[in-house]
């Protein structure tokens, strides 16, 4: 348990470094959109979900409604529903305790804690999330107060950080032929839906690609 947590912290550090840059750009963009420093920092400290924060912010900045902004965030987080379902059997305790443990799920931690057999190492999950949470909040603080020195985040290529971060997670996951096919199919489903569905939905729908895992060892089941 303790070893898993410490190992998780170590594994989490590179993701935490990149998360710092991501949340820094969130801080800059949030200030530009009209958030106060306290509001931008509170968003990172309590929402703690990068894609949802950026999605809600984009709707807010474009003058959208409250419902549209929250819906965009919720749909971006739709994948956490699938991740939570996957994680559930590996969490002990009553419903409240399990629900609290479920809050520690972020993409990198969930992927790294995945044992590959349908079970999860929850202490590794907690450990991997810990440094990512710290730098997520710190990055926003720096972005909020230092953003003026930076100017336009896109000019220095900050928008390339997000896809590269997730590409690293994918490359760590596709170790066998089935997972490579699943990743390819998931990408195709998402791209095919982009023109037709609101942002976030294509990612959630891509979860269907995991059904390619069904036929394996069917004779045994």
């Amino acid at each position: 348990m303790r070893e898993s947590f410490v190992r998780g912290v170590r594994l989490g550090i590179p993701y935490a470094v990149v998360g710092f840059v991501l949340s820094l750009s969130f801080g800059v963009v949030a200030r530009q959109a009209g958030f106060s420093p306290g509001q931008a920092i509170a968003a990172s400290a309590f929402v703690f979900a990068g894609s949802a924060q950026f999605a809600a912010l984009a709707v807010f900045a474009a003058g959208g409604t409250l419902i549209a902004a929250v819906a965009a965030a919720a749909m971006m987080n739709g994948r956490f529903l699938a991740m939570g379902v996957a994680l559930a059997p590996s969490l002990p305790g009553g419903p409240l305790k399990r629900g609290l443990q479920g809050q520690t799920v972020v993409d990198a931690s969930w992927a790294l804690a995945n044992n590959g057999d349908g079970t999860f190492d929850r202490w590794l999950l907690f450990g991997t999330t810990a440094p990512q949470y710290v730098t997520w909040v710190l990055g926003t603080v720096v972005g909020v107060y230092g953003g003026d020195l930076l100017g336009d985040p896109d000019r220095i290529g900050l928008d390339a950080v997000f896809p590269t971060f997730f590409l690293a997670l994918v490359l760590a996951e596709i170790r066998d032929p089935t997972s490579r096919r699943v990743a390819l199919l998931g990408a195709l489903i998402a791209l095919a839906l982009v023109p037709f569905a609101p942002p976030g939905v294509p990612v959630l729908a891509a979860a269907a690609a995991a059904l390619l895992g069904v036929p394996r060892r069917r004779e045994a089941g």
Partner: protein
């Protein structure tokens, strides 16, 4: 729109979504077939996030400087280079292309 209301609503939505699976499904054994599907959720969801971040702008498909930057970073990752270096290169390539174009 009140920003504090927006943040509170986003917190409520995120906490509910993250809690749903563990609260409703925790502490029970899932059938083997479900465990196999669960094991493959990660590549499915993560690769979808990559392509939507790199090739989608709202509801439009596009290729931008950041797409090229990500590919440059991805090449380094594929060659086994550290994540932080790959992200740095992705940023430099993206920023460089924007400066030229």
């Amino acid at each position: 729109m009140n920003v504090w209301v927006l943040i509170a609503a986003c917190v409520a939505a995120t906490v509910t979504i993250k809690a749903a699976g563990p609260v409703l499904l925790g502490g029970r054994e899932l059938p083997a077939v479900m465990l196999r599907v669960i094991a493959y959720l990660a590549p499915a969801l993560l690769s979808a996030l990559v392509v939507t971040a790199a090739f989608a702008d709202g509801r439009e498909l596009h290729v931008g400087a950041e797409t090229v930057g990500m590919i440059a970073g991805g090449f380094l990752l594929w060659r086994g280079r550290p994540l932080v270096l790959a992200v740095l290169v992705a940023m430099v390539v993206t920023a460089g292309l924007r400066a030229i174009l």
